[in-house]
């Protein structure tokens, strides 16, 4: 919210004066307005029109109370035609101290640039002064309006800017016949992290619905291959776009928070719970139901109530019995093995989610549940379950790293030299490169890498260890 907006000028005789302000009386008192000013102008004026060294740059200052910030861009235009060869002015805005000030920086810059240019070209501001004296002089003359206006007074211009930016976040204001001020408040996003070749982008929105032919061509090709399964390298390959460009395009999407980056799903990978899993167990915000819709095989299409109570369908008891006495959770399932979707019970989903564990691969996890009598694969899309867990912060991927002690020792002493023609895997052995990276960059499968490592030439026995983290 812009609390106030003003136009200040330096006058050789009178010093710094507020020429126009909106709302009236926000910076300096005017006749007929009782509201107190936002701050003491006298304290801040040396920052509104500062010394010459600080002109022509964006300057902000907080008021002593810590309530407001004054954002300004004092402009000094040297030219012999002015008194003292210089014209100094500042268009500033006053905003609350605790809001994000970044979007307003551009507004202030744009005002300064536009009016400075108009002044340089046609003396817009300096002419204006002759008709439009500073506020206190106006008061002395009883607010009498002098001269004839062919264009909007600056005061009303400021008011429109303030109102439009506050209400619509943008404004488009014709200043005179030739000039228009276009401004918009843009939020500032931090720079997104880098996109790596082994990341798997997942769309947070339906790109197909928003994309149009004016989009960047590379982007259009890339988004067509974002399916939540393919890794970046694969997308680049499928889209016939270079990896670097693909990464750039995806980073762009990341900047606007329209994709998520996950890891590559393998059945041999390991996932483990994070504290966020408690939200899942407590079904916060219907998370488990959301999960059921996402992961249950064929469940989404059927609006059917979650598992009929099993009394009618005769198959119920028999399948349950067939699963043996060990089926700890299966009796809660709709055991009807017929066609159509099944809604796995919330308890079972919770159970599935909580049984991930450090040191247990998805495969082992799956086997555990199969042995317990629950045919996971028939009811649940495991990949989706895992991804759901990762996205919701219930699970994290336990990555696999390979470490060569010898190489570490070389790194510690700074003797590590890239071995030309040496083993291409060595550079991955410092513990900073997960297997996902090796897999995508070397185009090898996990088992192939392990085999290569076993025959790693330079090392003795036991030099290489595998750390899960």
């Amino acid at each position: 919210m812009i609390q106030g907006i003003f136009y200040a000028r330096f006058f050789p005789q009178q010093g710094t004066k507020i020429v126009a302000q909106s709302p009236p009386g926000c910076i300096v008192p005017v006749h007929g307005v009782d509201k107190p000013c936002l701050f003491d102008f006298n304290v801040l004026q040396e920052y509104i029109i500062p010394r010459k060294a600080f002109c022509n740059r964006y300057i902000t200052i907080n008021d002593p109370e810590g309530k407001y910030s004054v954002l300004g861009f004092p402009v000094s235009i040297p030219n012999p035609r002015y008194d003292r060869n210089e014209f100094i002015f500042n268009f500033g805005v006053v905003v609350d101290n605790d809001i994000d000030q970044v979007p307003y920086e551009r507004v202030v810059r744009r005002l300064a640039v536009t009016f400075a240019e108009m002044e340089k070209q046609s003396g817009y501001l300096s002419q204006d002064h002759d008709r439009h004296p500073p506020v206190d002089e106006q008061q002395e003359r009883g607010g009498r309006v002098i001269g004839s206006y062919r264009r909007r007074p600056i005061e009303s211009l400021l008011e429109i800017i303030k109102e439009d930016l506050n209400n619509y976040g943008e404004c488009m204001i014709p200043v005179d016949d030739a000039n228009t001020i276009n401004m918009k408040l843009f939020p500032h996003h931090p720079t997104p992290p880098e996109v790596k070749g082994w990341h798997v982008p997942v769309a947070k929105m339906k790109f197909a619905d928003v994309v149009d032919p004016t989009w960047d061509l590379t982007m259009q090709r890339v988004i067509a291959h974002i399916d939540g399964v393919s890794d970046v390298r694969r997308i680049a390959y499928a889209a016939d776009v270079s990896l670097e460009l693909t990464q750039l395009a995806l980073r762009h999407l990341l900047y606007y928070d329209t994709i998520l980056l996950l890891d590559i799903f393998f059945f041999g990978a390991c996932y483990a719970p994070r504290p966020g899993i408690h939200d899942f167990i407590a079904n916060v915000g219907g998370m488990v139901d959301e999960c059921a819709h996402y992961v249950c095989v064929g469940a989404a299409s059927h609006g059917a109530p979650p598992l009929d109570q099993g009394t009618g369908t005769s198959a119920g008891g028999s399948v349950g019995a067939g699963e043996g006495p060990g089926s700890s959770g299966s009796n809660s399932m709709d055991p009807n093995g017929g066609a159509g979707g099944h809604r796995v019970s919330n308890y079972m989903l919770t159970k599935l989610m909580t049984t991930f564990c450090v040191g247990k691969t998805v495969m082992e996890w799956l086997k555990g549940h199969m042995d317990a009598g629950f045919d996971v694969l028939r009811f649940v899309d495991v990949r989706r379950l895992v991804q759901f867990g990762v996205i919701k912060g219930c699970l994290y991927r336990v990555h696999k790293y390979v470490v060569s002690k010898q190489y570490l020792a070389q790194l510690a002493t700074g003797q590590a030299v890239p071995m030309a023609g040496g083993d291409p895997l060595q550079k991955y052995m410092d513990g900073c490169h997960s297997f996902d990276q090796i897999i995508t960059e070397q185009n090898l499968a996990d088992a192939e890498i392990m085999n290569k490592l076993k025959s790693f030439p330079s090392s003795g026995v036991g030099d290489i260890t595998v750390i899960y983290r």
């Binding site: 002593p64 992290p193 719970p273 504290p275 407590a282 008891g317 002493t413």
Partner: protein
């Protein structure tokens, strides 16, 4: 606790001292480091690059690039010359103007900076923040008191050297400090330090106010030059202001008030600079000189060097009254509770635990909880810390050294207090621990234990692995190398002691564990549990409730002339029960339309039952003997047809009807109506009773988790999220489970002995199978099964005691500490309960 935005050499560019004098105006006294680089105008840094201000910049900003120099040196200096300038030598322009290297700071002439950085008195002791694109100048200006005299009256203070006097000097008063950063006693000890040095020096000469006025420094301002990233401005400024800027300026103020320190030092520095200007000394030489001669300049160096590396800055100010020392820092969390978004960001390498974040609010207020759950892990060698303490002795030094000696990472604070044979009070232990933690000499951790499981911290900083491996090898030369040990820990979670080859190795392995904890390489894998209510238990409770309800309705029908009032005790329970039933499943459609009072009474009855009635394991033929009201009446299974004729006459005789004396016709109509209603109610009740009687009678099996009986099909197990706060039906479930645990007597044990191991493997949530290679294996099961009734009693008792930990937030590993029990016993008890627990494990 998220990591704050921290200063670093890239966003913290320098410090500068500016003063103002009444007659001579502002002076820029000193800045450090000697070269504060001019920041390129916005757009220069890559992250700003995408801001589309470029066109705006082109129009205005570029030409202003050399404005600063033009102002001070009007004659044109070749930009090339300037670009090559090393900021050390003096330059002389063609017109003879001397450009002095220290007169340009961050691209601005100091002449201009000193003006803009001496704000009006309105900013006295407030945040002053001015940004000069992109440089942020942040400070906390200190003005001379209105009377124009810095010096405080000393005599007053001498007299009451107590707290009141200290409170006067805001620079160090404990009450004034920010409560968050104040670490209990530290505020006091700071004051002590100031006070102590002070008194050591004896009374100074009576302050000469005239001289004070002559010095006429009206304000000083230690300005911090920051260059934060765009979205971090507010955070960085806040953090620096609260923890550093405010405190240092206050310390300076203290010294200025005592001994005119800032002014005297400033005079010294300014004199040196003026001389240097004349002699055209190199800036580096001059700066060296100044730093050696002025403790004020020295302290600015210390501040910059420490704070920009996010270390503790220790100020040492040599006032004429003695050394004043003061330490400042930005407190940083030593742990986080979840994986950070950016795995390679600032938070990488921090130890992860939920031990701090998941404790409930009421526990925090109770200090003994923390005492039992946490121990202290010193971050440096014990001897080194002792030496540090001795190097700066005060009253607390002896007991602090004692504390350090007793602190072991394997002991909780509570145990430390006990082991020190009560030399240290719990309050002292807490206080010292807080002190060490605040000043980064230690961290609080759940005490290490060989039975606990430790995994590689998912947030550990692998980039440090090479160095850490080398250090580890020096520290533990005869033991497995760090990568091997981490690999061993990471491959599958096991109790730590299984990694230890023999008992003799235990101490050194615990030392290794402490080492790994310190570096954030490992974290404890904890188990969190919820109570699972199996369908069998749900059914049993529902069945009993329904039976009770029907019995009640019948009684009220027959005793209709007695108004149906719930038992006195039930009234109070009513609300609770209803709340509980609100979330109940749709198991019994019949009970849902009941009045609250009915429910309430049934709850009480059931409670009573569960408490008083000793449970028989044989399946009950009918719940009636238990549940029917005390009055000798028909049992529920009676044919319903009999009920109607009995009830009718009594209903007609209600006192209300008689007293009103309506006409005969009305009476007849009313009577018929009432009869119809009663009829209907009776029929419904009868139907319910029949339906109830047809239902399968609940049967208790040894392992409800695997009970696949027909009547349970389709029921889903229920998870109780917080057993401590369970109400209504959930509390009934809990007591039903307790009853079962108690009742698991010989009859079951014998039959289960054979069955149990097989079942255990199957039920995934059993702690045993979760514990991987935990030693409590199948062999123990057998013992469990044969356990005597006494053992069952223990389990049931423990169920009541432990259930408060079954909330998914309290790590089961810490129950032993909390309850002061043996770990082994706790695990055995938990194992016995495991069928009713849903466990999940993370850090």
């Amino acid at each position: 606790m998220a990591l704050p935005v921290l200063p670093s050499p890239s966003n913290f560019l320098g410090v500068a001292l500016v003063i103002n004098r009444s007659r001579d105006g502002p002076r820029f006294v000193f800045h450090y480091p000697q070269l504060v680089p001019a920041q390129g105008l916005s757009g220069a840094r890559p992250e700003c690059g995408k801001d589309a201000d470029d066109d705006d910049d082109l129009l205005l900003a570029r030409p202003s690039r050399l404005d600063g120099f033009e102002a001070s040196a009007p004659s044109v200096l070749h930009p090339d010359n300037l670009a090559q300038w090393n900021h050390d030598d003096h330059l002389v322009t063609e017109s003879g103007t001397q450009i002095v290297p220290w007169e340009h700071v961050a691209g601005f002439p100091t002449k201009d900076l000193e003006n803009i950085l001496t704000p009006a008195r309105a900013y006295h002791k407030r945040l002053f923040q001015v940004s000069l694109d992109p440089l942020y100048c942040v400070s906390y200006p200190i003005y001379v008191p209105e009377n124009g005299v810095w010096r405080k009256k000393k005599r007053q203070q001498r007299k009451d050297a107590g707290a009141a006097a200290r409170r006067d000097d805001e620079g160090v008063a404990p009450g004034d400090a920010d409560p968050a950063s104040r670490s209990g006693e530290r505020g006091v000890s700071e004051a002590d330090q100031f006070e102590g040095r002070d008194s050591a020096k004896g009374t100074p000469k009576t302050p000469d106010e005239a001289e004070d006025k002559k010095s006429s420094m009206t304000m000083f301002n230690l300005v911090f030059f920051l260059n934060p990233r765009k979205h971090e401005v507010k955070d960085l400024v806040d953090v620096m202001f609260v923890h550093i800027i405010k405190k240092i300026n206050k310390a300076y103020k203290y010294c200025q008030q005592r001994s005119d320190f800032v002014w005297k030092e400033s005079k010294k520095i300014l004199a040196l600079k003026d001389k240097g200007r004349e002699d055209k000394r190199n800036m580096s030489a001059l700066w060296e000189d100044i730093l050696q001669n002025s403790s004020l300049a020295q302290s600015m160096q210390d501040i910059y060097e420490a704070v920009s590396q996010n270390k503790i800055a220790a100020l040492q100010l040599e006032t004429i009254e003695g050394m004043v020392t003061h330490s400042v820092q930005i407190p940083v969390p030593f742990h986080i509770s979840d994986l950070p978004q950016d795995l390679e960001g600032d938070e990488c390498g921090l130890w992860m635990t939920t031990a701090n974040s998941l404790i409930s609010d009421e526990a925090v207020e109770e200090p003994s909880y923390l005492d039992k759950n946490f121990g202290l892990l010193l971050l440096a060698d014990e001897k080194k810390i002792s030496a540090e303490l001795q190097g700066d002795p005060d009253d607390a030094t002896v007991s602090m050294i004692e504390f350090v000696r007793h602190c072991k990472p394997t002991l909780s604070f509570y145990q430390v207090g006990q082991q020190s044979s009560n030399v240290l009070t719990p309050a002292q232990v807490r206080k010292y621990a807080q002190h060490f933690i605040y000043w980064r000499r230690a961290i609080a951790i759940p005490p290490l234990h060989a039975r606990d499981m430790y995994i590689v911290n998912p947030n550990c900083d692998m980039r440090k692995l090479p160095q850490a491996t080398a250090r580890w090898a020096r520290q533990f030369p005869l033991l497995p190398a760090l990568p091997n040990f981490l690999a061993e820990l990471s491959v599958a979670p096991r109790p730590y002691k299984l990694h230890c080859p023999s008992k003799a190795h235990r101490p050194v392995y615990m030392a290794m564990l402490a080492w790994l904890m310190r570096g954030g390489w490992v974290t404890q894998l904890c188990t969190f549990a919820y109570v699972v209510v199996w369908p069998e238990v749900i059914y049993e409770v529902e069945y009993a409730l329904e039976a009770e309800d029907i019995a009640r309705s019948k009684r009220s029908q027959t005793d209709a002339n007695i108004p149906p009032s719930p038992p006195a005790g039930a009234a109070a329970l009513g609300d609770v029960a209803v709340a509980g039933f609100g979330i109940s499943s749709s198991f019994l459609s019949l009970t849902t339309d009941d009045e609250p009072s009915d429910l309430a009474s049934s709850v009480t009855t059931l409670r009573d039952l569960s408490l008083s009635h000793s449970h028989s394991l044989a399946p009950r033929q009918s719940p009636d003997p238990d549940l029917s009201p005390p009055s000798p009446r028909r049992t529920l299974s009676d044919p319903p047809s009999h009920t109607t004729p009995h009830t009718n006459p009594s209903l007609a005789m209600t006192p209300v009807a008689a007293s009103q004396q309506p006409t005969a016709a009305e009476q007849a109509a009313e009577k018929a109506r009432l009869e119809r209603i009663a009829d209907k109610a009776a029929r419904e009740l009868a139907e319910r009773a029949t339906a109830h009687a047809r239902k399968a009678v609940p049967e208790q099996t040894a392992h409800p988790s695997v009970n696949a009986a027909k009547h349970l099909v389709g029921m889903s197990p229920h998870i109780i999220l917080d057993a401590k706060k369970a109400t209504g039906k959930e509390s009934l479930y809990l007591s039903a489970i307790e009853k079962r645990l108690r009742g698991r007597s010989a009859a079951v044990a014998s039959s289960a002995a054979a069955k149990m191991p097989r079942d255990r493997n199957v039920s995934n949530n059993s702690i045993n199978s979760n514990r991987g290679g935990a030693p409590v294996g199948a062999g123990k099961q057998g013992r469990d099964a044969h356990a005597s009734a006494k053992d069952d009693g223990r389990v049931a008792d423990a169920w009541g005691k432990f259930s408060k930990y079954f909330n998914g937030q309290s790590a089961l590993e810490r129950i032993a500490l909390q309850e002061d029990m043996k770990r082994k016993d706790v695990w055995n008890l938990l194992t016995a309960m495991s069928e009713y627990l849903l466990c999940v494990r993370h850090w």
